[in-house]
């Protein structure tokens, strides 16, 4: 059919040249505009820098010359912070897989290579007890850094999980409208009504009793389930937020325009809907991550989350509370983990705030 139709002569001369000239008239996309405005927001920018540094420290933890986070030093009580430069106490040799387990726990291939690199660079040298030690004589700085890995990993995995389910589900629901939308949203309502804390506790309890069976038969390990379960809770709100955005009149007319052009539903979803709800999603994410971090800490605190010898901020909080006793207060066990967690959450909230302003179309150009 297309072949038979005569095409209109729009009569533009020199189109090729104009196309080349057009390269000189670059537009500023909304993302570029938002980034420019985010850079002007000092609080948000410093938070972003802080988080970036923090995340790289945490990611590169095996590469850093930190003492082993699980090496015991059975003294009578926790040692206070000392300002010693460091010592040559990191006298592990890493040859077999068991060697790694001695200094850390089950590490991934990449982590092992980083440990190798650290050994090659720093040798036996390790930092001093800058943050003191805990009741079992383990180095607190090292535990905070290694613990942040768990916390960040949990929150990122769960957030990603909620992002994928929530955005797709919410956008699809809002786009279809009518009966399908109705049905999908009622389902969300039903999920909302379930007290998830109990479900999580229930599932995790079952998993820890039957763990050996489950782990030997299938590849279910507790941590993966832990991520999935948390993600499965947080997608609900995400779905609602996204659906609301899709339905907002501001977004509906250009979607209708795409439909009038004959665009397919997946095309509308991924070309028009998702990029336009992304800004709201990003803002929502920066506020979800702290919530998930706290939830992880809470579950670990209850003994349902991460288990020793691994360490997470929740477990450090448990150690911290043990350290509060009327006879002698080991303040560093409370102050340092709390400061690490608190500053991260604060930075995330600052960043979320800044992002919300930067991405708000009403404030654009202001």
């Amino acid at each position: 059919m297309a072949g038979q139709r005569r095409t209109w002569d729009l009569g533009l001369q020199d189109a090729e040249r104009l196309l080349q000239e057009a390269a000189g008239y670059k537009g500023e996309s909304l993302w570029q505009d938002a980034w420019r405005r985010l850079k002007q927001d000092r609080g948000a920018l410093w938070s972003l820098i802080f988080l970036a540094i923090f995340a790289s420290i945490s990611l590169l933890a095996p590469l850093l010359p930190l003492p082993s986070p699980i090496a015991l030093d059975l003294q009578a009580e926790p040692q206070p912070p000392v300002l010693a430069f460091g010592d040559a106490g990191f006298d592990y040799e890493f040859e077999t897989d068991d060697d790694y387990r001695l200094a850390y726990w089950e590490l991934s291939w990449l982590d092992k290579r980083m440990v190798d690199a650290r050994k090659a660079i720093f040798g036996d040298w390790q930092t001093g007890r800058w943050f003191g030690t805990d009741s079992k004589g383990r180095d607190l700085l090292s535990r905070i850094v290694w613990g942040s890995r768990t916390s960040i990993l949990v929150s990122l995995a769960a957030t990603l999980c909620s992002l994928l389910i929530g955005v797709t589900y919410g956008a699809f629901s809002g786009l279809m409208g009518g009966r399908i939308d109705n049905l999908m949203m009622r389902l969300v309502d039903i999920f909302y009504a379930i007290p998830f804390i109990f479900v999580v506790i229930f599932i995790l309890t079952i998993l820890s009793t039957d763990r050996s069976d489950l782990e030997s038969e299938a590849l279910v390990d507790k941590e993966k389930v832990f991520f999935l379960v948390i993600g499965a809770i947080y997608w609900l709100t995400m779905a609602r937020v996204v659906r609301g955005q899709v339905l907002s009149p501001k977004n509906s007319e250009f979607i209708e325009a795409a439909r009038a052009l004959g665009a397919s539903t997946p095309r509308i979803l991924f070309v028009h809907v998702v990029p336009n709800v992304l800004s709201i999603v990003i803002v929502y994410l920066t506020l979800t991550i702290p919530a998930i971090m706290l939830f992880e800490a809470f579950l670990s605190f209850l003994g349902l989350g991460i288990e020793p010898p691994k360490v997470s901020w929740g477990l450090l909080a448990v150690d911290g509370t043990d350290a509060i006793n009327p006879i002698k207060t080991f303040w560093w066990l409370v102050v340092f983990p709390a400061a690490a967690m608190g500053s991260t959450l604060l930075a995330l909230n600052f960043l979320g705030d800044g992002l919300r302003d930067a991405l708000d179309p009403k404030l654009r150009g202001k």
Partner: protein, 332 residues
């Protein structure tokens, strides 16, 4: 005479409102379009005029297939569209495009002008990427924008320029019919005239037919060969432009015409105005009989309470220039 380009017969579109229970059926029906018929020829423009809630926008959207018709028929170039399966409808969609009211909301803010204009071609798999891009440049030029601005984003343009982008997008597939949904009502006065002129020029150049939806009678008069006046989901009068504006027949058309302020103090202060009483009734609960009767000043001229009891049919004459119809008991 050949087939009409567009023929709409007894079109109904009812929306469910509210819900009985959690998943139950609708509590009420909003009869947005309630038996609308009209025809449109190639290269012609038909104005669909009425106040908010009269169903003019819904009619256009149903014709285009953005809404599923409740009942009735929409024939485009002789082919019934309402029963057409999705894949075949795509081919007709190419020949029918739409321009939207709000130039700020109808363009995706995250796309460049270039991708907005190449999208229709991409969807219908026309041309190679380079050809599409050159086509987009030519479209920009055709609607009076600088083709060099193809890499810019909608927010970098003013309202009138954005509306031009919207028009260029509608032209991309070389349609025969363009549905214009209040394309100038969101624009400033000085820009309105530019867009009206552009639409006229494009019609002449490409032989387009317009279904032009508007509440502004003066703008419709500039653009449309024929006009249909709607009230509460029904067409109350259809006529050629000259006839409608010089001798409106239906009392509602007369009132509508009289309500438009004239930008001339000498005339505006002396002329007799028909001021309608009351508000437009809700389309969920339209009045019995002629839906205009509660506000109609000439009701007393019809005997025996027929206005309250009986829905008047569209009656009148049909000639080469189109139908001259009006739905009023006074016309009998």
């Amino acid at each position: 005479m050949a087939e009409h380009l567009l023929e709409v017969r007894d079109l109904h579109k009812h929306f469910p409102v509210g819900r009985k229970g959690l998943l139950g059926g609708p509590a009420a029906m909003l009869r947005a379009v309630d038996g609308v018929s009209f025809t449109l020829e190639r290269g012609e423009s038909l104005g669909l005029v009425g106040e908010s809630g009269c169903g003019k926008s819904t009619t256009a959207r149903t014709v285009l297939g953005l809404h599923q018709a409740t009942s009735g028929s929409v024939r485009f170039d002789g082919v019934e569209l309402t029963t057409l399966a999705r894949p075949e409808r795509g081919a007709y969609r190419r020949r029918m495009q739409m321009i939207f009211q709000d130039p700020y909301a109808s363009l995706d803010p995250r796309q460049t002008v270039g991708s907005i204009l190449t999208e229709p071609l991409k969807i219908h798999r026309i041309g190679r990427p380079k050809e599409r891009k050159l086509r987009a440049l030519a479209l920009l030029d055709a609607v009076g924008l600088n083709p060099r601005h193809i890499n810019r984003y909608p927010h970098e343009f003013s309202g009138g320029q954005r509306q031009r982008i919207g028009i260029a997008r509608a032209l991309a597939l070389e349609p025969e019919l363009i549905l214009c949904d209040e394309p100038v009502s969101a624009l400033d006065v000085s820009i309105q005239a530019q867009i009206v002129n552009l639409l006229k020029e494009l019609q002449e150049r490409f032989g387009l037919a317009y279904l032009f939806i508007a509440h502004d009678l003066a703008v419709v008069r500039q653009l449309c060969h024929r006009v249909a006046v709607m009230y509460l989901g029904r067409v109350v009068e259809t006529a050629r432009r000259e006839e409608l504006y010089t001798a409106p027949k239906h009392p509602y058309t007369r009132a509508l015409m009289s309500a438009v302020p004239v930008p001339d103090p000498e005339i505006e202060r002396q002329r007799e105005r028909i001021v309608l009483e009351g508000d437009v009734p809700s389309p969920m609960n339209p009045p019995s009989g002629c839906s205009f009767h509660p506000r109609c000043a000439e009701r007393h001229r019809v005997a025996g309470g027929r206005c309250e009891a009986e829905i008047p049919a569209l009656r009148g004459t049909q000639d080469a220039g189109g139908a001259r119809l009006s739905a009023c008991h006074l016309e009998e």
